[in-house]
Structure formats: structure tokens, C-alpha cells
């Protein structure tokens, strides 16, 4: 039986059900009974967002005033009343040179966001111009067997987002390839389980920073002859090793706790060992494996920032660190922009995993 695909179904499936409620509101399809659910799903979240922005704005204003007072007082103490007056005027005029450096307000953050996008457009234009300029030269170089000249300018904010996503997916894939097969083996054999248990218990709580250092020690030596930048390799391996534990533990648990009825069926049908694993054990533990993978992906995204920062691998983590070191007037606002981007992408990744999970696994709750 084919079910028609509607917006409502799709949004519910990917866990963004409120979108369809919003659409119903604009198309006038909303029934009276839906009013409470509309209030709960749309009005309340919007109200809470506005409240959050309001509190943030007030907080940053208060911090701004404290910082400004302090600056004026300091000028008064060090340089006398004229300097204090000059400082007061300077701050009021909005001159960049004397702005108090503190938590930016929502408006400042939004401005920084726009300036980052503009910056991205400028860099893109720059890249295009560079490509155009070097096109004929590169053709010649390739014909002569030399490497083409590539753009080595600074990456834009958007480039760094994609670089971070690449690192996370590489790390996630590594975690998946290690943790799922290993988890299945551990779950199937009690001997392997007890021999691996100490290993899991000890390495699971190790901090991302230490994982990075460990991977760094090993990869540095392995790539000793190579002149290439190993920061990407190091950071994605660290992300993978850091985040794979949830999947490993969940897979092992799912595989070892398959419903006894299913095992009995496998026995009565006399399934071979491979048939048993692929036809009975794995499908029945898929929900738990996916729960593990979902945790792994969100952990990977969380530790990525710290690891990129340490590994000096281009990405959002490095962006945040560089802005902090930079200390320019809008650096703080840019850090907050990065924070929101990280949060929103993390949320979207979670939804992505939920969608895939809904796709592949049966509903265990009402399965008989």
C-alpha cells in the first residue's frame, strides 16, 4: 500500500512537525481543535525565542554599561577629567577605537553574521578572479607536468563550515567502521566481551584533548616522511576515536540482548551462523545501533571544535580560536555567530540521523 507523500508526513518523519502546523496556519487550514496544539507548537516557542533575545539584549547592555563606566573612570584616574570627557564622547559616538569589549548584543551578532556573509562573497569573487587569471597558466603548467597553482588565500566562514562538516563526517565514518563490526563481535561472544570490557571502560571517558594528543603522537611518526599537512588526518581520527564509544557499547548491548523468541525461531528454522546474524540478530538490534550512532554523531560534532582548535585544522574550531586571539572590535560577535552556527548544524545533524533511523528500522515498541 503506497502512502501519498505530504508535507505533514515528511516534516513529522524528519522530526520537524511544527513546520506543517505553520503551513496550515498560512493556508487557513487550521481547525479550531488544533488551536491548543498550534499555541503549544508555534506560539510558545516563538515567545520563548523572543524572551531569550530580550534577556540577552538587556544582559549585554548592562555589561556594556559596566565596561563603559570602568573605562571612563580609568581615564579620569589616570589622565584627568578632560580625558574622561573625551572617552565618554568617544564611546557615545560609536567610534570603533574606544568601544567597550564585552558580550555583544543580538543586533551586533546579526550585523557580524551579515558581514561574514559579505566577506564570503568577496572571497568567492576573489577566488573566481584568481581562477580566471591562472587558467591559461595552469593549462600550460599541467601540459608541462607541473602542479597547478591553487588559491591559497584565507578561507571564508562558509568554507570553514564545510571543512568542519567534512572532518566530522570523516570522523563519524571512521567511528562507524570501527565500532559497529567490533560491537557485533563483542555482543556475540561473552569471551570477547570480558576481554574488551576493561578496554572500553578505560578509554571511554578519556577527554578529546588527550585523544588528540595520542593520535598526534602516532600520526606524526607515521607520516614522518610526508610533507603534507597532517592536521586534517589527525583531527578526523581524533574525532572518530573520541565519539565511537557510544556506538560500540550500544551495538554490543543490542546484539547481546536480542529477544529470546527470535533466537528460538532461528534455532527452530536451523539458520546457519551467518544467516542468524544477518537475518535475525542485526535487524533486531538496529534500533539500538542507531541510537548509538546518533549519540556518536552529536559527540563528534561537539568535540570537533576543541580538536580543530588544538590541531590547527581549518574549520569552525580554528575560526573561534583565531577570532578570540584576534580581539578585534567585532571578534566577540563573530564568536557568537559561530556558536549559533555550530548549534544549528548540530541540531540538523541530529534530525538527519533520526530520519535515517526512521527509514531503516521497524518500530520495536509494538513489534511482536
Amino acid at each position: 500500500m503506497k502512502q501519498s507523500i505530504t508535507l505533514g508526513r515528511v516534516t513529522k518523519f524528519i522530526g520537524l512537525g511544527f513546520l506543517s502546523t505553520l503551513k496550515d496556519l498560512f493556508t487557513g487550514k487550521l481547525e479550531k481543535e488544533d488551536l491548543t496544539s498550534f499555541l503549544r507548537k508555534v506560539v510558545v516557542p516563538i515567545a520563548s525565542i523572543l524572551l531569550f533575545l530580550g534577556l540577552w539584549h538587556m544582559g549585554s547592555m548592562s555589561l556594556y554599561n559596566t565596561e563603559a563606566e570602568f573605562k571612563i573612570e580609568k581615564a579620569l584616574k589616570d589622565q584627568g577629567p578632560e580625558a574622561a570627557e573625551a572617552m565618554r564622547e568617544c564611546i557615545a559616538s560609536g567610534d570603533i577605537s574606544c568601544q567597550p569589549n564585552t558580550l555583544p548584543s543580538p543586533v551586533q551578532v546579526w550585523d557580524s553574521y551579515k558581514s561574514l556573509l559579505k566577506d564570503h562573497q568577496i572571497i568567492n569573487a576573489d577566488k573566481a578572479a584568481f581562477a580566471e587569471k591562472t587558467a591559461s597558466l595552469n593549462e600550460k603548467r599541467i601540459a608541462e607536468g607541473k602542479a597547478a597553482i591553487t588559491y591559497t588565500g584565507r578561507p571564508s566562514f562558509v568554507d570553514q563550515i564545510f571543512r568542519s562538516l567534512k572532518t566530522v563526517f570523516a570522523g563519524f565514518l571512521l567511528a562507524l567502521l570501527i565500532a559497529v563490526p567490533l560491537g557485533i563481535l563483542i555482543g556475540l561472544s561473552a569471551t570477547l566481551k570480558s576481554s574488551f570490557n576493561w578496554f572500553i571502560q578505560i578509554f571511554k571517558p578519556v577527554s578529546p584533548v588527550v585523544w588528540y594528543l595520542l593520535v598526534f603522537m602516532i600520526v606524526k611518526t607515521l607520516l614522518i616522511d610526508s610533507n603534507e599537512d597532517s592536521s586534517f588526518t589527525i583531527s578526523f581520527i581524533s574525532v572518530g576515536l573520541c565519539s565511537m564509544w557510544a556506538t560500540l557499547v550500544n551495538t554490543a548491548m543490542g546484539v547481546s540482548s536480542v529477544d529470546k523468541d527470535y533466537i528460538n525461531v532461528a534455532k527452530v528454522l536451523k539458520l546457519g551462523p551467518f544467516q542468524k546474524i544477518f537475518k535475525v540478530v542485526l535487524p533486531s538490534s538496529l534500533p539500538l545501533i542507531f541510537t548509538g550512532l546518533k549519540i556518536t554523531l552529536s559527540v563528534a560534532w561537539m568535540v570537533l571544535i576543541a580538536i580543530e582548535l588544538l590541531a590547527q585544522s581549518p574549520g569552525l574550531g580554528l575560526f573561534v580560536w583565531e577570532e578570540f586571539q584576534n580581539g578585534a572590535n567585532d571578534s566577540n560577535a563573530k564568536i557568537i555567530v559561530a556558536m549559533f552556527v555550530i548549534g544549528i548544524i548540530g541540531f540538523l545533524l541530529d534530525r538527519l540521523m533520526l530520519t535515517i533511523q526512521n527509514w531503516v528500522s521497524f518500530d520495536k515498541t509494538d513489534a511482536i
Binding site: 527452530v268 535475525v280 528500522s361 511482536i368
Partner: protein
């Protein structure tokens, strides 16, 4: 030589001082083509007995002989219908049955296997639901799938462990007829475990009560001399039926009462109350 023979079966769970003997001294023999029902209370060890016969469990002592050979492990010759259906929820009805026939007949081609699946799904009249998953089906339909899965492997003997226990009375009656119809076609040997005396009388040639566990053992057998095909309404007026039914129920009630009177020890509750509680009412 009987088709299926159980000789002095004992089954104990646990070890040492924690050992409980669930079944003791079980002797049973079933002839080829016979339909035998074992009736017993819940918790009397019926499922353990079934698992010993189908090969999921091994007896602590004694032997299970199937066609003269000792049973070791499961076999396609003995089809099992479980109490809780045990369908794989991620497979459709057709796939559930297909998995069984593929294992039972590894030499057949895909086309032949598919035809077999169709035939048996049709036999339990679920052709319309062949592409549905178990969770989309009602309890009765699920159990019919389980019946189709067990029979499609063409076992020489069908073992049913309270197959209709979780169904409502109406569905239960219908499925009883369906199972009897299928059984009547090629008269395979059948063993039915049930807690419903009427079901046993309606379906079986012989009824054997299982005394409640621990140390459950089989009671005297009751032959059901009612001609097939049986009719439920007519049976109610049949003298033979009434007598057998009363005899079995009386027997089961008696052993039930024996059990109760065995538990003579009375427990006296100590006369204590929480301190606060006492103060509050003083």
C-alpha cells in the same frame, strides 16, 4: 515402536541447592498420525516439556526418541508453533514464511520456494496480507502466519505450544477449525499443549493432564471417542463428551486441591509497627 517417545524424563533448572525439578518422570508415547493434547495449569512446565520435544532444551535425565532416534537439537521434521507467534517484525508475512522454506528446502529454486510460500499463505487465507508486516496484523492473523510458517516446512510432526492462548474466544474457535482442517488433510502427527480442556477435547484424540510443577508429571490419559469431523454445538449434547469433560476437570480440580492442602504452614505476622506511626496515635 511409537513415533515419539519420552522415557523417564527429568528436567531440573539451576544447580546444587538452587536446583528445582520442573518435570519429573515424564513418560509419553505418541503414535504416527495421532493428535494428542496435554492440558495443564499455567506454570506447570508445559513450555519446558515442549522445548524438550522440539529440541531447544535437553533433558537432565531420560531420553526423547523421535522415530526411534534420540532427539538432539532442533530439526525441520518437527515444526513448532510458539505461544507468542515469534514472527520477525522486520519481515513481511511472505518473507517470514519464505525464510522458513528456504532453510527447509535449500535445493529448491527461488520460484518454487515462492510458490510454496504463496500456497501456504493462501491456506491460512492471508493472501491479501502477504506484504504486510506483523505489527499491521491482528493477533489471530499473526498466529495464522505462524501456522503457515510451521506447516510450509512440511514437518512430519507439528508441536503447538498454547498456540491460541492469547486470542479471543471467537478467533480461537475459528483457528481451531482451521488447524483441524489442515491437520485432517494429511494427518500429520500433532501435539497440542493447552490450558483449555474444551479445546483439548474438541481437537485431540487423547488428552493427558500435566500435574502442576514443580515436579510436574503426566496424569492418566483420557481417550476422546468422538467421531471427526466434530461439531461444537452437537458435542455439547454428546454424553461421551460430557463424561470425559467432567472427568478431566474433576481430576484437575482434585490435584489443584491437593496442592493447596499441601501448603499447610501458616505464617504469623510479627506484631510490629513503625515508631512514628505508634506515636502518632498515642
Amino acid at each position: 515402536m511409537a513415533y515419539l517417545e519420552l522415557n523417564n524424563i527429568h528436567k531440573t533448572y539451576g544447580q546444587g541447592e538452587y536446583a528445582t525439578e520442573v518435570l519429573s518422570n515424564i513418560n509419553l508415547s505418541i503414535e504416527e498420525g495421532e493428535f494428542v493434547a496435554i492440558v495443564g495449569f499455567t506454570g506447570s512446565g508445559k513450555t519446558t516439556l515442549v522445548n524438550l520435544i522440539n529440541g531447544l532444551l535437553e533433558p537432565t535425565s531420560g531420553e526423547v526418541l523421535f522415530k526411534g532416534n534420540p532427539v538432539s537439537g532442533t530439526s525441520h521434521e518437527r515444526g513448532v508453533i510458539f505461544q507468542n507467534y515469534s514472527l520477525l517484525p522486520w519481515l513481511t508475512v511472505g518473507q517470514n514464511v519464505y525464510m522458513a522454506v528456504k532453510e527447509a528446502f535449500p535445493k529448491k529454486s527461488k520460484k518454487e520456494l515462492n510458490e510454496l510460500v504463496k500456497e501456504y499463505v493462501d491456506m491460512v487465507s492471508l493472501t491479501h496480507a502477504i506484504n504486510k508486516r506483523p505489527k499491521e496484523l491482528s493477533g489471530g492473523m499473526r498466529q495464522r502466519v505462524a501456522v503457515a510458517r510451521a506447516l510450509a516446512m512440511k514437518p512430519e510432526m507439528i508441536i503447538m505450544d498454547e498456540p491460541l492462548g492469547a486470542l479471543d474466544a471467537l478467533t480461537r474457535g475459528n483457528l481451531q477449525d482451521e488447524i483441524l482442517n489442515i491437520w485432517g488433510k494429511d494427518k500429520r502427527t500433532a501435539l497440542l499443549i493447552t490450558n483449555d480442556v474444551d479445546e483439548g477435547i474438541y481437537m485431540a484424540d487423547r488428552i493427558i493432564p500435566l500435574k502442576p510443577g514443580p515436579n510436574a508429571t503426566l496424569g492418566p490419559e483420557f481417550k476422546i471417542d468422538i467421531e471427526r469431523p466434530r461439531d461444537k454445538t452437537e458435542m455439547n449434547d454428546n454424553e461421551n463428551y460430557k463424561q470425559t469433560r467432567n472427568a478431566i476437570i474433576e481430576y484437575l480440580m482434585d490435584i489443584g486441591n491437593d496442592r493447596k492442602s499441601e501448603a499447610k504452614e501458616e505464617f504469623v505476622l510479627p506484631d510490629i509497627a513503625p515508631k512514628d506511626f505508634v506515636y502518632q496515635f498515642k
